[in-house]
């Protein structure tokens, strides 16, 4: 019978027993509900060992790729090393801080050991005094540092510190990665629609670069929305990316004031709908302001995008001090 390592202890399964039942029988608290492979509340991750395909049926490709499975219907043939969702703490240093616009700062952060992550996932950055905020990853694992885009939040403690006080070599801690908004291979010709507002651009840039690096040949269309032209950033880098890859398109969209600069002006969803009335067969990535992410998710779905092909990361604001 297989055994399961979880939190440093080893638990043996009885014949025919699911991973969930074995852990519960040994007194390990694992969230669960339907016990029928439907509700996904018993999700665990296997960092070592193979789980049967049936234990991953119905999960998004991003979860399957990370080894997540439904423990209530998982009866494996081999031993597994298990992890709950989340990640570990890693010591790190700020390498460089660079203003991309008056309200967006690019932070490059290097971890002591290389972090295993996917572009588009997020990490939690923690200052020595314990203050912590989550940021999405615009970098790829091969880059020499993690790249984060920091939006200056009104009265934001972390962003205020990073904008005004933090210096290179500043020690910090990185926890993660987490999140399932990232590129997965296997469908190189599928058209991709990436849309976000504000620093929702960070994960989208990472996902776009990751797709290109993995040899994606289908169209990749990146939309970045802002209230006004001064809310856009990284335009020249993105134009270079599109110049080098003919399947990549970049479209900035502003709600007002873009006409003079030749920038598409209007509501982000309307501009996208005009260009892409039919989204059956597409895959979507959505990041940034939660209400816009929710709204776009629904619009993309109603335009025919399959729900399992929509990956989203809504940025939640930390409460004001």
């Amino acid at each position: 019978m297989p055994s399961f390592t979880f939190g440093g202890a080893v638990y043996a399964a009885a014949p025919g027993e699911s991973v969930l039942d074995a852990l519960l029988r040994h007194g390990v608290a694992v969230p669960h509900s339907c016990r029928a492979g439907a509700c996904q509340s018993c999700l665990l991750r296997a960092s070592q060992g193979r789980v049967p395909a049936a234990a991953q049926a119905g999960l998004k490709a991003t979860l399957v790729e990370q080894g997540y499975f439904l423990s209530c219907v998982c009866r494996p043939d081999e031993d597994l090393v298990l992890e709950p969702a989340g990640g570990l703490d890693v010591p790190a240093r700020i390498m460089a801080l660079e203003r991309l616009s008056p309200t967006v700062l690019r932070a490059r952060v290097r971890t002591e050991q290389p972090l295993s992550y996917r572009a588009g996932q997020y990490i939690t950055l923690r200052r020595p005094d314990g203050l912590a905020r989550s940021y999405s990853l615009a970098s790829l694992p091969g880059d020499d540092a993690l790249e984060l885009h920091i939006r200056r939040a009104p009265q934001g403690r972390m962003s205020g510190w990073l904008f005004e006080e933090a210096r290179a070599e500043e020690p910090v801690t990185v926890r993660g990665p987490a999140g399932d908004c990232f590129y997965t291979g296997g469908a190189p010709e599928q058209p991709l629609l990436l849309a976000g507002t504000g620093t929702g651009l960070a994960p989208l840039v990472g996902i776009c670069r990751d797709a290109v690096r993995q040899g994606h040949t289908g169209p990749i269309h990146l939309y970045h929305g802002a209230l006004r032209p001064e809310g856009l950033y990284l335009e020249s880098e993105l134009r270079r990316l599109t110049a080098k890859n003919e399947n990549v398109r970049y479209s900035p969209v502003v709600l007002e004031g873009g006409e003079a600069a030749g920038i598409a002006t209007g509501a982000l969803d309307k501009v996208i709908a005009a260009n892409h009335p039919q989204l059956a067969g597409w895959r979507g990535y959505l990041c940034g302001d939660p209400s816009i992410v929710q709204m776009l998710k629904k619009k993309f779905f109603l335009a025919g995008m399959p729900s399992r092909q929509i990956f989203a990361d809504a940025f939640l604001e930390a409460p004001a001090p």
Binding site: S33, C34, A36, A38, G58, Q294, F301, P306, S307
Partner: protein, 121 residues
């Protein structure tokens, strides 16, 4: 004799039906307002649970949980006409997927059995 759930094709059939069904529901002005402001992933998971039950599959719904889960919608005016609209979309989804009418009738009968709990009567 295999169960209704097996005859319909089990979990893969639910996965195939859920997008078609939920797209019909969200596009229907008679009922779409009940779904505004709700996270789509959460809704899709709930619709999957509902379809699994209606297909005769494993579920953990009870009359009480059906009542509790819809009480806030009943307060917003959920009534028979809305229930009928959802049942209509359930039937047309299955027709679209090529399911035989006798099986569709069985699914609709399961859905019908929840009517009074859903509407809090």
């Amino acid at each position: 004799m295999s169960s209704l759930y097996e005859q319909l094709g089990g979990q893969p059939a639910v996965d195939a039906a859920v997008d078609i069904f939920y797209r019909k529901v969200l596009s229907d002005d008679r009922i779409s307002h009940f779904f505004e402001g709700v996270d789509m992933d959460v809704q899709i998971a709930k619709q999957k649970g509902f379809l699994t039950m209606a297909f005769g599959g494993p579920h953990h719904y009870t009359g009480a949980s059906m009542r509790a889960g819809h009480a806030h919608l009943v307060r917003r005016g959920l009534n028979d006409s809305h229930f009928n609209a959802v049942a209509e979309h359930l039937g047309s989804t299955l027709t679209e997927l090529g399911v035989a009418q006798p099986l569709i009738d069985q699914v609709l009968a399961v859905a019908e059995s929840t009517r009074n709990d859903v509407l809090g009567r």
